[in-house]
């Protein structure tokens, strides 16, 4: 059956100049991730998975190669255009939650909508609905420091989803959580997946990766294994 791809990477490479020498963090990555896939990108530190995540998340530009995200060619965009893509197409979830500390859960979830110039009352309504969806309908006014790790990560998920992005991109989402809340968050991801959301999780934990539909393993800047194609490449 034909599945339209959310992510298409073709020959993506990233070089860093290090004291005169060129170091390739990513060599040449080819990767397709389709609509409603639930993917884990695995690799030890130094494998290039963070670099790949930054490129997928439009936080960084590749040195070479083509990147199509939800039909848009995004490899050579300006910083401002990248910001627009991040705002509309990508929902980020971070290991350390990265909520804005001085404002309430509701306002945190409203924040990305400001950059879409959504009016205040509509913004509030959308954020409230999203927080209810992740089970925090009674914590709207709480500031992040008055919430547990699991609750904070739920706020982050709500914030990531409120713009209805094509891609939910999570960087070690359970890295700072105990096993019980890890379970809760993973269940939340599974629900989102079941409802049609495309999810990419970057992780070094095999347990987490195992719960995803597809595992892609990176080593030394290259894909060494992809479960979709029966393992090692």
């Amino acid at each position: 059956m034909p599945v339209s791809n959310v992510i298409e990477l073709r020959g993506i490479g990233k070089d860093y100049a290090m004291g005169g020498e060129v170091f390739s963090a990513l060599k040449s990555i080819d990767l397709d991730i389709g609509q409603n896939e639930f993917v884990a990108i695995i690799g030890s530190s130094g494998s290039g998975k963070s670099t790949l995540m930054n490129i997928i998340g439009c936080l960084d530009r590749p040195t070479r190669g083509d990147y199509t995200l939800a039909g848009d060619d995004v490899a050579k965009l300006s910083a401002n255009q990248q910001a627009g893509i991040r705002n509309r197409q990508i929902g980020f979830i971070f290991q350390s939650f990265n909520l804005l500390p001085r404002i309430s859960a509701l306002h945190n979830v409203m924040q990305p909508l400001i950059y879409q110039k959504v009016g205040l009352s509509k913004r509030k309504k959308m954020a409230k609905e999203m927080l209810e969806k992740v089970g925090l309908g009674d914590k709207l006014g709480n500031q992040p420091n008055a919430m547990s790790g699991g609750q904070r990560q739920r706020v982050a998920v709500a914030r990531a989803l409120v713009t209805q992005p094509s891609l939910l991109l999570a960087d070690e989402p359970t890295g700072n959580l105990d096993s019980k809340t890890t379970e809760e968050i993973m269940q939340l991801f599974e629900q989102l997946h079941a409802s049609g959301q495309t999810i990419v999780i970057v992780t070094h934990e095999p347990d987490i990766a195992a719960r995803c539909q597809r595992q892609i393993t990176l080593k030394d800047g290259a894909v060494v294994s992809d479960s979709k194609y029966g393992g090692a490449i």
Partner: protein
């Protein structure tokens, strides 16, 4: 516009979250604006009170006096204004204005027993009392009959009496000595007070004719003119000039050998003085605002570093450089404006509160709207100028580095 509004909202929430630090940050602005407003309110109060004194004097008054200019003397022209000139002026302005002439009498101090006073002695016509709005507290003014009879009589101010140690209510009927003659005090003036620090009560008036005969040469007079309709002041002024130029035989483009001074000129002079004062203090305040602005810039730079991670988060969520720039710029402006408003309130309170405590300052402090507008405008300007560097620093942060910042 949308982003400006959102930035203002977020600026207020940032300021609320750090109340103490925000106040300390804008302390420079607060103090700068406070002192401006306090000083301007006092200067403006002074101006208003001086102007109101002049209003009693009259914006419809014209004073004509001999020119001290050497230029006129070099033409070999007569510089004195004589009694004949005065009469010519009277003819010229008849029906439009009333006028009087006065002559200063030079000489010794006025003596009474052991006491003496250096009061200025002036010869006046009876019209002087009307035109200068002088009131008599005791006795009577000098009258026309005193002049024709050359009566050595004197009307005195109350400071003069103080020097001579005569009680005002006992002065009438006493004789004082001046330039070797004895004068009978016939009247005492009401107290006027000081204008520009000059005591208006240290005076003595004698009949014009009595004063004129003190001088060996033709005396030079000063003419006081009261124009009936203020609108006619320019017309009357031109008639006076015409008459005097004719009297003095000045023709063509030769300059006047006399000077005229109107109430408008007096007001213009007061405005110049208060303007200079305001400008000088404005300069001092501009420096203090500059210092305040540097304070704001410092704290904003620290704040940008502190909030590096927040900036990274906002960028990850899709904030553009321009949006981050605007957010921090507006935060600086709002800080400055809040400081400005606090400064205006404190400055007004100080100005209004301190005015009654300054000895000899009889004015009420006045806070003009333009000063408030200026203070707010300046605060905004300082915010923009000193906010731009921290805001640019925030906007240019790399999102990946910023997110990684601990």
């Amino acid at each position: 516009m949308f982003m400006v509004l959102e930035s203002v909202r977020s600026a207020f929430s940032a300021i609320r979250a750090n109340k103490l630090r925000s106040v300390l940050t804008s302390l420079g602005i607060i103090i700068g604006v406070m002192s401006t407003i306090a000083v301007i309110s006092l200067i403006q109060g002074l101006r208003a009170s001086v102007l109101s004194e002049f209003e009693g004097f009259g914006a419809n008054q014209v004073v004509v006096f001999p020119s001290p200019s050497d230029a006129a003397a070099s033409y070999g022209l007569p510089q004195n204004i004589t009694v004949d000139d005065y009469e010519a002026v009277l003819d010229a302005i008849d029906g439009f204005a009333e006028a009087t002439a006065q002559v200063s009498v030079w000489g010794d101090r006025i003596r009474f027993g052991e006491e003496s006073s250096g009061a200025s002695v002036t010869g006046v016509y009876p019209e002087q009392y009307i035109i200068n709005d002088l009131s008599i507290a005791y006795g009577r003014p000098t009258v026309a009959g005193d002049g024709t009879a050359r009566n050595p009589v004197m009307v005195v101010g109350q400071s003069l009496l103080e020097d001579l140690e005569i009680a005002p209510d006992e002065a009438v009927g006493k004789y004082v000595e001046f330039n070797g003659d004895w004068y009978l005090i016939v009247g005492v003036l009401e107290k006027i007070g000081a204008v520009f620090g000059q005591d208006q009560d240290n005076v003595a008036y004698v009949p014009f004719e009595v004063a004129a005969q003190q001088s060996a040469v033709e005396p030079s007079v000063v003419i006081f003119v009261n124009v009936f309709e203020t609108d006619n002041v320019p017309f009357v002024l031109s008639r006076i000039k015409q008459a005097l130029r004719l009297q003095h035989g000045i023709s063509g483009d030769m300059p006047d050998d006399f000077q005229t001074f109107t109430g408008d000129q007096a007001i213009a002079q007061i405005d110049t003085i208060t303007g200079v004062l305001t400008a000088v203090f404005g300069g001092v305040v501009a420096i203090s605002l500059l210092v305040g602005g540097i304070g704001i810039m410092n704290i904003m730079l620290v704040s940008v570093t502190e909030r590096t991670r927040e900036i990274g988060i906002c960028k990850a969520l899709g904030a553009t450089r321009a949006q981050i720039l605007l957010q921090f710029l507006i935060e600086a402006v709002v800080l400055c404006l809040v400081g400005g408003v606090i400064g205006i309130l404190l400055g007004s309170a100080i100005g209004l509160g301190i005015a009654p405590l300054i000895p000899g300052f009889e004015a009420q402090a006045v806070i003009p709207l333009w000063a408030i507008a200026l203070a707010l405008g300046f605060s905004t300007g300082v915010g923009v100028i000193f906010g731009i560097l921290p805001a640019a620093k925030a906007a240019s942060l790399d999102p990946i580095d910023a997110l990684r910042y601990e």
